[in-house]
Symmetry: C2
Subunit: 107 residues, 2 copies
């Protein structure tokens, strides 16, 4: 019986930069992406400011996401956040203890 | 620090019918849904035939998905499958041993 592709495989042990992998490109409606972080954070003072909306889900690891002007939000496996277009945000922290695997849906 | 909503919480222990929960309704572009199965399968001889495309990811548990005229595909946590609109398919099996949690993105 064939196996489906699996987003937990083919992750290198060492990822000097965050790793972005497109899983589905159903453009223009949607793009689904795997992101792997390992202690990474957005550069100091940097804010993402995106023209499209993004829904993110943490699958493994731990992270903190901050919207401009708000407290950081704690993310554990299963946690999800919707980031509307033009809502400024940054990744404050990802755990150094293990890889954090995210699913991001750009729509 | 506030916690984000988590898709692994608020799942009843007993689910007589499969449980469908909309997590994001970004219509018309996208709809994101959690599905919880526990030994459920599509009715014998039944095929889903949807007007929109659907990308599914298994987060927990185990399942088998079949496209019409093909072998079933084995799904474990992390496995994902894209189901184009009008591609007839069915859920052949989900494990009776634990709950299977799916993420479905309709686009």
């Amino acid at each position: 019986m064939p196996d489906a592709p699996n987003l937990f495989v083919d992750i290198p042990t060492s990822i000097p930069a965050e790793l972005f992998t497109t899983l589905l490109d159903g453009l223009p409606a949607v793009r689904i992406e795997r992101i792997v972080s390992h202690g990474h954070a957005s550069p100091e003072g940097f804010w993402y400011d995106q023209g499209t909306s993004e829904w993110v889900l943490v699958l493994r690891g731990a992270a903190r996401l901050r919207f401009e002007g708000e407290e950081p939000i704690e993310l554990a496996p299963g946690s999800y956040v919707n980031i509307p277009a033009r809502r400024r945000h940054r990744v404050e922290w990802t755990t150094p203890d293990e890889q954090t695997v995210w699913l991001a849906i750009h729509y």
